[in-house]
């Protein structure tokens, strides 16, 4: 099951990364305009 678990971890990690990085970009004024 380790491999199955890693897949879920990868997917969750990427969504979290995309949101968090965007949040940081906005706080630092580096984000693109909508």
């Amino acid at each position: 099951m380790a491999a199955q678990g890693s897949l879920i971890a990868f997917v969750v990690m990427l969504f979290w990364f995309a949101n968090r990085q965007d949040q940081i970009d906005r706080e630092e004024g580096q984000a693109e305009d909508e």
């Binding site: 491999a3 897949l7 990868f10 997917v11 990690m13 990427l14 990364f17 965007d22 970009d25 693109e32």
Partner: protein
């Protein structure tokens, strides 16, 4: 079906959800209609025709509706593909014939060790999202080599990137066309060579007129077909066996049933067994036991190479050039992995259910005179062997098994050799499902192979037309000429790949796995250092690419084609046992002493043995990037430190690449929409 809306207009992008929902509904209705027709007695052959021709016709229609005369549309789909749909398109682009047709098969044969592929091919997306994709999107390149040229000032770095790109993509595309040919010849009942060109025609119709734009929207459609086709058979199997339609939940149950069947077969002598230290009989290769095929070093090396290779394959990276913003490029990688996950999460269950069916057949004591029909169907294509002969006629099989000492006269698991590529295609037939399910799976496999072939062909043709022709040969070419050249090159590359595939080159097919290591060693170090280290210089990058790629290629070719001399030169680094070394010496003596007529055969035996022992530290050649990566990174670092730092302009450019806000770095005069 539901793609009448004029592709490319603002309307189309706004209505994507409705259009693809209609399309998915239409596809389900189509499957239901064929299922009804089958029940009414329409011959299987026509059901097969229906699936193959109608799905190709729909892809072609989307391709034609998305035709374009704009460079920005042709190369990067106008940079307005929403993250969600780009994720779906990447899923189809990524999941090749190998993933769809071969992954469950590999897991079927290798059991636990096959999971290295699942991990490597998904973990790579984490690298793509964090290290590469958003930055390349901000860069605003049309192709991956564009980045190399801009960052490492000049066409030499660009040229090297094009070489690596073609080396890894061409073998890969050949394998896709080969897979298309296998499926089309099985379900259309036509000659393999003809089938290859039928597949080629389908591929070209999708990509030629609309380039990236057409490929994007067909890939979304192909993803829907392939995921439906993959999930339905496993859901049916899971429901039939355990009454729960979620295969991931019943997978554990299937695994324990597999283990108990393995025990039963071992007791009856129907599966290869070994005696353990205590003298007890054990199954030689239990499904769930780790490291039966790879030792831990090779297992983790393979995962690393596949991960890094995934993050370096140009046809994947270029998909992220099409999103409207850097923000969407990031979330698009997440969506890509989600859509890939849907299939990969199911693959181990698919393999387990399929193995369960075959074990059930063997454990039940199948008589050689009563082999099931599916063995003959695929045996005729040379893909299923029993006792070493293709299953074509029952008496041949009985004769072949009769020659094996102590054969019990019923099918043993070790007698059966199924080509991993037919596991997925044949499972519906193995499990005795209606033919319409087999046709559906074929349509899915076809979609997977076609979509990947499209993406790869476009990557190769764009590198030739944009990087070589426009940037290096004729920078003054007009938009019209550029697009004409791009299309001609696409057709030329496609025909070359189809011709290669039609010769059934065994070598090329085994080389596909090499593409990952080659891409990893040739592209990854320079790409990552270029983005993440301002001090990386042109000389450093060029040296790193040449040395990293070179050492990987040397190891691959050395251990595969010149194994004897490779072993003689590097034997001191190898891990061969004394017994293996003695065998080598003995075979070498036999070859030297052999008479003229027997030389070739003696050498072949020597070479075969040498291939199994020629290595550095026992690393398999599929993982050659294990050497290429450190060499690449180190040489970029060392040479960069000895050369003058890049100019301030280049350093500022790298800095700008890392900030999502602002204009793209490369500004194309004829791009339609570039960023916001």
């Amino acid at each position: 079906m539901a793609t009448q809306s004029k592709a490319g207009s603002g309307d189309f992008i706004d209505n994507l959800g409705r259009i693809y929902a209609l399309y998915t509904g239409g596809f389900f209705a189509f499957v239901v209609v064929l299922a009804i027709l089958e029940q009414l007695g329409v011959p299987n052959k026509f059901i097969g025709y229906g699936f193959v021709f109608l799905t190709i016709a729909v892809y072609a229609l989307i391709g034609i509706l998305s035709r374009t005369a704009e460079v920005g549309e042709y190369y990067v789909a106008g940079r307005r593909v929403p993250a969600f749909y780009n994720g779906m398109a990447t899923g189809a682009d990524w999941m090749s014939g190998a993933s769809f047709v071969g992954m469950a098969g590999t897991l079927f044969l290798l059991g636990y060790d096959g999971l290295a592929f699942v991990l490597g091919w998904t973990g790579g997306y984490v690298l793509v999202a964090i290290l590469i994709a958003p930055f390349l999107r901000k860069f605003g390149a049309y192709t991956v080599p564009d980045f190399f040229s801009e960052r490492f000032g000049g066409n030499f770095a660009r040229f090297l990137a094009v070489i690596v790109l073609i080396c890894c993509s061409f073998t890969y595309v050949t394998a896709q066309i080969y897979a298309t040919g296998i499926i089309a010849s099985r379900f259309l009942d036509i000659n393999f060579t003809v089938a290859v060109y039928v597949g080629l025609f389908g591929i070209l119709l999708c990509s030629m007129l609309g380039g990236m734009k057409a490929v994007t929207w067909t890939q979304v459609a192909q993803y829907i077909v392939l995921i439906v086709a993959y999930l339905i058979p496993v859901i049916i199997l899971s429901t039939k066996k355990y009454g729960i339609p979620i295969p991931q939940l019943t997978y554990g149950q299937a695994l324990s049933d597999i283990a108990s069947l393995e025990g039963q077969m071992a007791a009856k002598g129907l599966i290869a067994t070994v005696k353990d230290a205590a003298g007890a009989v054990a199954v030689a290769k239990p499904h769930i036991k780790p490291f039966t095929t790879y030792d831990p070093l090779n297992y983790f090396a393979l995962i690393l190479c596949l991960m890094v290779g995934t993050a370096s394959l140009p046809h994947i990276l270029m998909r992220y050039f099409t999103t409207p913003s850097v923000r969407e490029a990031r979330s698009s990688v997440a969506w890509s992995l989600f859509f890939i996950f849907l299939l990969y999460f199911t693959a181990p269950a698919y393999a387990a259910f399929s193995k369960l069916e075959v074990y059930g057949l063997v454990a039940g004591g199948a008589k050689l005179s009563e082999l099931p029909q599916w063995m003959f169907t695929y045996g005729n294509l040379g893909l299923v062997k029993v006792c070493g002969v293709d299953v074509k006629a029952a008496q041949d099989v009985i004769a072949a098994c009769g020659k094996i000492a102590g054969h019990p006269g019923v099918l043993r698991f070790q007698d059966l050799a199924i080509n991993p590529d037919v596991i997925v295609l044949s499972t519906p037939e193995i499990a005795g499902m209606p033919y319409v399910i087999a046709g559906l799976v074929a349509a899915g496999g076809l979609a997977a192979a076609l979509s990947t072939a499209d993406g790869l062909l476009l990557a190769i043709a764009n590198a030739l037309s944009h990087d070589i022709y426009y940037k290096m040969v004729n920078p003054n070419a007009t938009t019209k000429t550029r697009l004409v050249v791009a299309r001609i090159l696409l057709v030329v590359v496609a025909i070359a790949a189809a011709y290669t595939a039609s010769t059934k080159p065994a070598d090329i097919l085994s080389m596909v796995a090499w593409a990952f290591s080659l891409a990893a060693a040739g592209i990854f170090p320079a790409l990552v250092m270029g983005i993440w280290w301002k001090r990386a210089t042109t000389a450093g990058a060029v040296t790193g690419m040449i040395l990293g790629f070179g050492i990987c290629l040397y190891y691959l070719i050395g251990t595969r084609y010149f194994a004897v001399s490779f072993h003689e030169m590097w034997g001191w680094l190898g891990t061969a046992s004394q017994a293996q070394l003695d065998t080598f010496a003995k075979l070498k003596q036999a070859w030297l002493a052999a008479p003229e007529a027997g030389k070739a055969a003696a050498y072949a035996a020597l070479d075969r043995h040498a291939q199994s022992i020629a290595s550095w530290w026992g690393v398999r050649n599929i993982s050659c990037a294990l050497f290429g990566l450190p060499v690449g990174f180190l040489s970029i670092w060392i040479v960069s430190m000895f050369t003058a730092a890049p100019s301030q302009a280049v350093q500022d450019m790298v800095d700008a690449t890392r900030r999502p806000r602002g204009e793209t770095i490369i500004k194309d005069k004829d791009a339609v929409v570039v960023g916001h």
